[in-house]
Symmetry: C2
């Protein structure tokens, strides 16, 4: 019944569908828009909420606590974190038209200006943080100390807010390692010339976990057993096999040294589990290790989860970094704060005298393992990989095959015909479902076929149709999105079908 | 058993408890902090998440869709919205020490500098938006047009992002009014000299609903019946009874003109319902109408929900504004975009010719009713109003009496004694509850009494204790926070008790 996918022309159709059906809208469009800024329209916001909730629940089950730190921070923070110096892009400027460009594969000195063909010259490093002033701005208030304080930046990552709170978080966790802390929130990157897409945004949402661990424990994750059989597609970056793709279990990868330690391995496996769990297809997912010259200034090792996009080829959607003690050590030095932890006591039963001795040893700065998710790119990956065009009889249909629990709308309720008695009953069913906090839509306009297509396009898993039989025997038709099969069920069982699906 | 509350000394104790137990931490404290910036620590973030989820669910039930727009926007947006001109504070500067101050009750010209006693002079209006640059900053790139584009601001409210999308939202709602759109997100206000508290933040979270309605329909809310018997404590701002407090039902208040129309009345009632629902005590809540000179530049009428704080007296926690057509008209004019809606067809059955005639009439700019919630202040109000000190036997206990469903931690699980067999069983019970996505803590340190006190302090409704009888008959003790009563229940029923409570 359903023909093979028709993939040609998919690319632009996804963007068009996302705009037309209310997933994503270019921001400030009435003022001409601004590259790198997108708004989540109603269905996009629902999808995003589902991804964020799934993420929060996933890491909460790991025993991690969420915190929420500010998105604006004073200069001191980013001076210590290294972002003032290193969170930069190299730029060139056209001698002729004066346009600035970020240096990348196509643009550098000795190449010509993409705008006017003019000669390009080096224009230095451009810091990618948005800068602002806290309080009365420079020049209006005397005193050097106050001036320094007033310089602020929009955060490029949530992680710094977590690091600054490390001593308090350690106390909250009763001075024990390991522990994990998560944040979901906005982060900013003042791109020089972003493309107009969801892929390179100036304002974006990241979900980050910072896991603090004794350096010597990195190769001993307490729950490594649970993930070690998980198979991953890996592209190690260094050594003889550089850039060669391989499939290995996490256990093998750590044993053979492809992945450096159990903590990294565990969290790479967890990223894979999460992404597959929300509906990213396994065969479009791989983990690629960064080359040494590719890593962020704070990382000593990093693996990207990459999604294969029809449009953008392989693109990073999550990074799993070993940040070592870089951040905590930097903040300890810059702020003169104790970021250390006492060495772990080897045994609970050792004599008190020995425990005291152990405590007297120098403190250790924990290492940090960090999975960092780009939520907007994950949304894009879900849209792209869920989009299908199918031949159904003589018609084509477009359908977003989201996992049922991720779909923005769970079900649509239709009266079969535009008659008052059917509409009344349909609205009743609709309202009952909404009162159960199920996301439902009501639609009575156009033919039933057209209404099905509309829901297919936004990925609604179920359509519930009220007809004249409903008024007689209180049953309805439920049509499933992917199979397009219909079943007849009593109204009293609709909720159960929508929430759990049903084997057939 | 429980004595009357002991209120003296409450004020500082709340702040101290919030810091010590992990609700709120001053941001960037290791760098000396920055006034107006707070981080949500683990328990505070949980509480905030519960408030936000309750809010989202509450307005979703109204049929409103959520969207998520950017927090950075270009200058054009705020020029049109009036914020560039009017979102300002009047300032004075000390001639002697050069410190700037916001003019308020205690500070103005003819008064002396609070810092050094020097003479104060007028220093003009200070715009309260955080300013930044999008892309390559001023001076580095030629061309006047580009420079203007690059000026950006952090939003002072989410509302503008909603207004900019109005034409697309109208289409999403199939060109029908009324409809409502919600947003929850960060907003910013670059205070000149904020107090160090949660009350006047530079970065804060707001939850706003924009309800678009035909001007002539404002006095006809379709669900007004549902709220009209709700009693409110009102302080109207204008007319003879200015500032006199009265208690009226919403229905009476609208009928007598105290509240201008049904839409305002309905949404004031909804704000009351929400706040009481999450646990703000009725007797600490009132609605006060703004005086004309007190209103924001966009508002034609506004009622604040005020919470009575022991520390700050009456303070605004929600504003319900009638913004009229101010915003949509401004953006329509500035961006040359059609923000109009066709007049409502009076009847579905009218002849097609008439419908066409009606459509040909001039379009109407909808009015906006806006409840705008200050989430951080609501968190503060919940903390303050939930805090009790009680005499229990010879001891005092501090307790946060959150509503059970708002408490950060739902239950704590204890082994009665620090013995391996009890700890093993307790961890099993703990893990089972966590797997059910219930927020639980495990604690085996200190006396059982001390562990109860710890949980009381953070508002945990239930403590589940495993003892030697548990190992025999699989029953546990559940102790309830407020009554401190204990019941014995089978392990298999623990989940039910925690989630639903139990009548006794």
């Amino acid at each position: 019944m359903v023909s093979a996918d028709i993939k040609e022309g998919r690319r632009d159709e996804i963007a068009e569908l996302a705009r037309r059906r209310g997933f994503l809208w270019l921001a400030f469009e009435i003022y001409g828009g601004a590259a790198g800024f997108y708004d989540y329209a109603p269905l996009g916001a629902l999808l995003k909420r589902r991804v964020e909730t799934a993420w929060r629940t996933f890491y909460t089950k790991e025993g991690f606590y969420e915190i929420e730190t500010t998105s604006v921070a004073p200069r001191d923070v980013f001076e210590a974190s290294g972002h003032l110096e290193s969170f930069t892009d190299r730029t060139v400027v056209c001698k002729h038209c004066k346009t600035f460009f970020r240096v990348d594969e196509g643009i550098d000195i000795n190449k010509s200006c993409p705008e006017c063909g003019g000669e390009l010259e080096a224009a230095g490093e451009f810091n990618l943080m948005f800068q602002t002033r806290i309080g009365v701005p420079k020049g209006e208030k005397g005193g050097e100390r106050v001036l320094d304080k007033s310089e602020g930046y929009l955060r490029p990552e949530t992680a710094q807010g977590t690091f600054l709170n490390f001593p308090r978080l350690l106390r909250f966790n009763r001075d024990k390692l390991p522990f994990g802390v998560i944040q979901i929130g906005k982060a900013y990157r003042n791109e020089i010339s972003p493309r107009q897409s969801l892929i390179r945004l100036r304002e974006f949402t990241i979900a980050e976990a910072e896991i603090f661990v004794y350096p010597e424990e990195k190769n001993k994750h307490p729950r490594f057993e649970e993930v070690k059989e998980r198979k991953l597609r890996l592209v190690p970056g260094e050594g003889a096999q550089a850039q060669e793709e391989m499939e290995k279990t996490v256990g093998e990868a750590v044993r053979s040294g492809t992945i450096a330690n159990e903590y990294l391995g565990y969290h790479i496996a967890k990223v894979d589990e999460f992404l597959v769990g929300i509906g990213i297809p396994r065969d479009k997912l791989r983990f690629r290790q960064h080359e040494p010259d590719e890593m962020a200034h704070y990382a000593r090792d990093c693996w990207d989860a990459e999604f294969f996009s029809d449009r953008y080829s392989w693109m990073e959607i999550v990074g799993v970094a070993d940040r070592g003690d870089y951040d905590l050590s930097s903040h300890a030095a810059s702020s003169n704060t104790d970021m250390g932890v006492y060495p772990q006591l080897q045994s609970q039963v050792q004599a008190e005298g020995e425990a005291e001795k152990a405590k007297a040893k120098a403190k250790i700065i924990p290492h940090v393992i960090e999975p960092s998710y780009g939520i907007d790119r994950i949304i894009y990956a879900l849209l792209e990989s869920s989009f299908y065009k199918e031949q159904v009889g003589k018609e084509k249909r477009k359908v977003l095959r989201f996992k049922k629990e991720m779909a923005p709308i769970r079900a649509a309720v239709f009266p079969l015909l535009n008659r008052d008695e059917l509409k009344r009953k349909a609205k009743e069913v609709f309202q009952d479902l909404r009162n159960e906090a199920i996301f439902v839509e009501y639609d009575d306009s156009g033919s039933i076929g057209r209404r099905y297509r509309r829901q297919d396009e936004i990925g609604t898993p179920y359509c519930v149709t009220i007809d004249y039989d409903t008024l007689e025997d209180d049953t309805v038709t439920i049509r499933e999105r992917d199979t397009m099969k219909q079943i007849r069920v009593p109204v009293s069982e609709v909720k159960e079908v929508l929430l759990k699906g049903r084997e057939r």
